[in-house]
């Protein structure tokens, strides 16, 4: 049996591989400064983090606030701020389109802290930090997701198949693909879509992208798709809608938080944003909880 991923040599190599990402963070923060939104004061320790219910009650986000956010500028908040934004979102509708994706590491986050989180849920892999290599690969290869609302199945868009070739079985030509902007993208890593529990904010559901039973889905190819599944990295994503066409996501492995990502569809964003600003209303497929969302209500 072939080893699907080459063992990484040392942690140092992985960390070096990550340097471009952190450099990108700095550049991005200058090009896309995060808009001023209200956040609750938070300290460093877990006990100093404000309760999400309180944040939502005291600092509700209005549709106009959410319209200021973009996939580029949201990546420049601190992780605590990203968390506070996420907690003030609802799941919105389960998408039914192709979305462009970007993953990001939090501004001002320290590598050791993030690694600490990874270790929390990926023991064993954390030793060799395979997960980081995967993330690095992800940043280079992953281009987004394609949602099929009717079947509740999602696939990930992979642009550079050559890099994944060593870990893909069989004939590459049999992999389903789509063309985006004149470039072929392959659809791999299928996942189930459903409304489920957020692993950071229990007060309302998120849209869950679950790879645990990926092997049951049509088009599943054991290699490489198993890597995301229950016997692999146990990936589970969750997303909430920032505004129509724009979702903020959190990726977990083994239920330990790994990274944030955004999903964006220009067409939906362009066609549905005006109505959203006017009314604050969107379709909700998932349980939105029972806490009053004041500014959203007032927009309508």
């Amino acid at each position: 049996m072939k080893t699907p991923m080459k063992h990484s040599g040392t942690l140092a190599i992985v960390l070096v591989a990550m340097l471009p990402l952190t450099g990108c963070d700095w550049i991005r923060s200058k090009l896309h400064p995060p808009p001023k939104l209200q956040f609750a004061e938070a300290g460093e320790r877990y006990l100093q983090k404000p309760d999400f219910a309180r944040i939502e009650h005291e600092f509700p986000l209005a549709p106009a606030d959410l319209m200021k956010l973009t996939p580029e500028n949201i990546a420049n908040y601190s992780q605590e701020q990203v968390d506070q934004i996420y907690a003030r979102l609802t799941a919105g509708p389960i998408p039914d389109a192709a979305f462009d994706g970007a993953l990001f590491f939090p501004k001002n986050s320290k590598r050791d802290r993030r690694i600490s989180e990874i270790v929390g849920g990926l023991p064993g892999l954390a030793v060799e930090l395979k997960s980081q290599k995967l993330e690095t690969l992800g940043a280079q290869l992953w281009r987004g997701k394609v949602f099929d609302r009717d079947t509740r199945i999602l696939r990930n868009r992979i642009e550079d198949l050559a890099a994944l070739k060593p870990i893909i079985d069989d004939d590459l030509s049999t992999i389903e693909k789509i063309n985006v902007g004149g470039k072929d993208q392959w659809l791999l890593f299928p996942a189930k879509l459903y409304c489920g529990q957020s692993l950071i904010d229990s007060r309302r559901e998120s849209i869950i992208i679950d790879y645990a039973f990926t092997d049951e889905l049509p088009g599943y190819r054991e290699r490489p798709d198993y890597l995301a599944g229950r016997n692999g990295f146990q990936i589970r994503d969750e997303i909430r809608m920032v505004r129509p066409g724009f979702y903020l996501g959190r990726a977990y492995a083994g239920k330990a938080f790994l990274l944030n990502f955004t999903l964006y569809n220009h067409e939906i964003a362009g066609s549905q944003s005006d109505a959203f600003v006017d009314t604050g209303k969107v379709a909700e497929d998932c349980w939105i909880g029972t806490q009053e969302r004041k500014l959203m209500a007032s927009a309508s």
Binding site: Y46, G120, G124, F213, K255, E292
Partner: protein, 858 residues
């Protein structure tokens, strides 16, 4: 040294701990019902019910005959209200906490007769097995394999559909109390719909609700028939070498079951009436049940992990609570393994209260003072109005309160203690408290859920309608819990009831009762027992101190309080005793959830938290913990085994017909702590709620209590090997290969508590520090453990780190080689669960008999 390198290489040892975190989804597959070749026809088109749904059958209402309207309302809420926790027990517990419940395994109708023996839960007399005589449901497919219960004719129409009208909407509320400031001018109670009754599942206190997301076509594709759950709860592989043999689709959140399952307070508190036990405990009648005795047989821990397999770490750590006990700090985990009995609620009017306790809480007001219209969460003073005339103000006052929980926690008021029970059963979990829990996977102290944060009562009131529905009726529940339903149950009455079954005119007088006891325990034993009790026990086990009631030696402990008609003496003073003083298994006393900054902080009084630590125990016991309140001895004959964990006395077991549901594991050990084997293992006692069964159990438990040297030590252990793989695996058709990472196995026989109490976050952090800042760590360890032990632990940490960096798979062995590490990083190091409370061991054999005889009369 680069911290990341150290973490990457060293913290793997933390994976030992992450065992607890691993989410090896699984479900145990029991025997399946015979598949019905003809799937049930689709339910008839749902329509908004014009008529009121059936609340329950007449049998349920027989129990309220002697109750006033408020008590009656409280009873129905206690028995049926889930306060919206069905979402928690169907989705949130599984997906967020990571423990799977196989509700079908617990509630399948074809095993109704075995349900009590397996799970200790009590069958609802109003329900029936589909297809049985007179049962409205003719096929298990009609009910998705569950019992048919009153109200299901409406409920079943809404499986897979929106629009169900909960029977609670038609609940007959008690008249609003106009003395209540909130109801002075009009009834302002939250809608009763938010009590969320659903219908019975067939087991008392476990309620079902139609799942509007259920997709019948998908269910049939997965399972074949409506009643067959094997596609959902069956394992993906039958090959034990394949990790998929642990996995079922219970872990697949995309599969929506037909029902959401919730539980009421009654799920744990409803029990067989000691005065009128059922002829067959698997098939009780309504007259055999009482609402607040506390189910002494429930295996609620096993129920809540019924979707896991015995080789899952979660099952081994959590599913060993004795029948009748529950670790209520397992979900809001404090990482202290400490199951405790379900409190018997008896003669509360006589229960001691404590004056002048400093209590910071919310109190009802009609309006907020000017300038305090909004809650200032996190502040000490706040006021909030749900609407005009219905406000609460928070502040600190001295009050007279009860001490409710094992260590005296839940001490801000009796109503609030009832209120918190609803969080124990999962209510308002999503809106109010799951975000405040510790995530065992989170080892970064800068991230949310690294540890607990305090639940906020004001926020919960504002954001959770189910909270308000219960809060607005707390007095009704309190009135039920102080009603005649909760009066003490005397053995004399129980025996007379037994007599009347064969001789309806028979009587069993006090004289006959005493005579029978004296025939068994010796002439004059009851009178002598009273003297022994007065001289040795009453200082703790009397609620009337000598300064108030005169010398114990002259006391009639059975005297009646003319005001209440109850026995004046509650037979317990509820005073907190340092755990080292009573010497019983101390893990429960070290419970942390009511400490400052912990999840139930707001339910503990400041007085509770100001209690000094017990300096005689080696673990931390600050913040008001380190105590047990003593208990009431009322109706003791009916409440064996003894101690807060039911560990003193024979071990109980159900011996179910379905061996897959036999959860008994022998805890018996020799004096060195090694598990006993073969004939040396005392047999477990089969569940027997009969009058004789209870009395036999009482006598055996009293014997153990008064003869501590004869007790066989009990230490709960892993019953199965627990393999844990860290990293991706591939199944090649013959065997599973670890692609990267490694595997470890925690062997059968490992002490369950040692793992459950292990503070993996602190251990992981110290391993890192041992490489990064060794001097700092060494100083810390010296300070906390003393120089000798600190040095030993420091050296061991360095050795362990070195070894597991070389070969991570040796992690368990390396730690086991150094058992003192488990002690140094454990929240509780106690192992023997039936030790302590040696009071009375020096009595003569005859006095021990006498005491046993006397207490049987109480």
């Amino acid at each position: 040294m680069e911290r990341g390198v150290v973490i990457g290489g060293v913290l793997i040892s933390a994976s030992f701990l992450f065992a607890v975190l691993l989410n090896n989804c699984a479900g145990d597959k029991g025997p399946l019902p015979e598949a019905d070749a003809q799937p049930a026809p689709p339910p008839t088109q749902a329509t908004a019910p014009a008529q009121s749904p059936v609340l329950d059958n007449p049998g349920f209402y027989l129990g309220e005959a002697t109750l006033n309207p408020s008590e009656r309302a409280g009873r129905e809420i206690w028995y049926k209200s889930t306060a919206g926790n069905s979402r928690f027990h169907t989705y949130t517990f599984q997906q967020r906490v990571g423990v799977l419940i196989d509700w079908y395994r617990v509630l399948r109708s074809d095993e109704r007769s075995d349900r009590f023996a397996a799970w200790g839960i009590i069958n609802d007399p109003g329900c029936c097995v589909p297809g049985s005589q007179d049962c409205p449901a003719k096929s298990p497919d009609d009910t998705y394999g569950f019992d048919w219960c009153p109200g299901d004719e409406q409920l079943l129409q809404f499986v897979g559909r929106e629009g169900y009208r909960d029977p609670a909407c038609d609940f007959k509320d008690a008249p609003a109390d106009t003395n209540d400031v909130h109801n002075r001018t009009k009834d302002q109670r939250q809608s009763s719909c938010d009590l969320a009754f659903g219908t019975s599942t067939g087991a008392l206190g476990i309620r079902k609700f139609p799942n509007p997301r259920f997709n019948r076509e998908r269910w049939l594709a997965l399972n074949g028939t409506a009643a067959n759950w094997s596609g959902y709860n069956g394992k993906l592989s039958n090959d034990k070498a394949n990790s998929d043999s642990h996995v079922s689709r219970l872990a697949d959140g995309s599969v929506e079951p037909p029902f959401l399952i919730g539980i009421s307070c009654g799920s744990c508190h409803i029990a067989f009436d000691p005065l009128n036990p059922p002829a067959d405990p698997a098939h009780p009648q309504w007259a055999n049940l009482k609402g607040a005795v506390g189910n002494q047989y429930t295996r609620i821990s096993e129920i809540l992990s019924s979707g896991m397999t015995p080789s899952d770490i979660e099952f081994q750590v959590f599913s060993h609570a004795r029948p009748g006990t529950s670790d209520t700090s397992a979900v809001p985990t404090d990482q202290i393994n400490n199951p405790g009995t379900i409190n018997a609620i008896i003669n509360i009017h006589q229960r001691p209260t404590f004056q002048d306790e400093v209590v910071d809480k919310w109190r009802k007001v009609e309006a907020c003072p000017a300038g305090e219209g909004q809650a200032k969460q996190g502040g000490t003073e706040a006021c909030w109005c749900e609407h005009e005339g219905k406000c609460w103000q928070r502040g600190t006052r001295t009050e007279t309160v009860h001490h409710i929980l094992k260590g005296g926690e839940d001490s801000i008021g009796a109503l609030e203690a009832i209120q918190r029970v609803y969080f124990n059963i999962g209510s308002c979990a999503e809106q109010c408290w799951v975000n405040h829990l510790t995530d065992l996977r989170q080892i970064d102290p800068q991230q949310r859920n690294f540890g607990q944060t305090p639940f906020d009562i004001g926020q919960c009131r504002r954001d959770c309608p189910n909270f308000r529905a219960i809060e607005d009726r707390l007095q009704d529940i309190m009135n039920f819990l102080t009603s005649s339903e909760t009066h003490a149950t005397d053995l004399q009455v129980a025996r007379e009831n037994e007599l009347k079954k064969s001789n309806p005119r028979g009587t069993y007088t006090r004289q006959s009762f005493i005579a029978d006891l004296e025939r068994e325990f010796g002439a004059g034993s009851v009178a002598r027992g009273r003297e022994v009790f007065a001289g040795n026990c009453a200082r703790c086990h009397s609620s009337i101190a000598e300064k108030d009631g005169g010398p114990f030696a002259n006391r009639d402990f059975a005297a009646i309080d003319a005001k209440t008609g109850l026995r004046a003496d509650w037979l317990g003073n509820d005073q907190a005793t340092p755990v080292s003083g009573v010497g019983t298994f101390r893990c429960r006393a070290l419970h942390t959830n009511h400490m400052k900054d912990h999840v139930w902080q707001e339910y503990g009084s400041e007085t509770l938290r100001s209690r000094p630590a017990d300096t005689a125990v080696k673990e931390a016991s600050d913040g008001g913990r380190g105590y047990y309140r003593n208990i009431s001895l009322l109706s003791l004959w009916a409440h064996a085994p003894f101690l807060h964990n039911n560990a003193l006395g024979p071990e109980l077991c159900g011996k179910p017909a379905n061996a897959a549901n036999d959860f008994y594991r022998s805890p018996f050990a020799d004096a060195q702590g090694k598990a006993l084997a073969g004939d040396a293992v005392p047999a477990c006692w089969k569940f027997d709620p009969s009058v004789k069964g209870r009395f036999d159990l009482y006598k055996a438990s009293m014997n153990d209590l008064l003869n501590p040297d004869q007790r066989v030590p009990k230490i709960t252990r892993f019953s199965d090997d627990v393999p844990i793989a860290f990293g991706p695996r591939l199944w090649d058709g013959k065997e599973e290969r670890q692609v990267v990472g490694f595997s470890v196995t925690i062997p059968a026989g490992a002490t369950a508590g040692a793992l459950g109490n292990f503070q993996h976050k602190r251990f992981a952090d110290d391993l890192v520090l041992s490489a990064l800042r060794p001097d700092e760590l060494h100083a810390q360890l010296n300070k906390s453990l003393g120089e000798k032990d600190g040095g030993t632990v420091f050296k061991a940490l360095n050795e362990v780190r070195t070894e597991i960096m070389r070969d991570p798979s040796t992690m368990i062995d390396e730690i086991r080689k150094r058992p003192f590490l488990l002690g140094a990083y454990s929240s509780c190091t106690a192992t023997v669960e039936n030790e302590g409370h040696r009071f009375g061991e020096g009595l003569s054999a005859q006095d021990k008999k006498a005491l046993t005889a006397f207490l049987a009369t109480m």
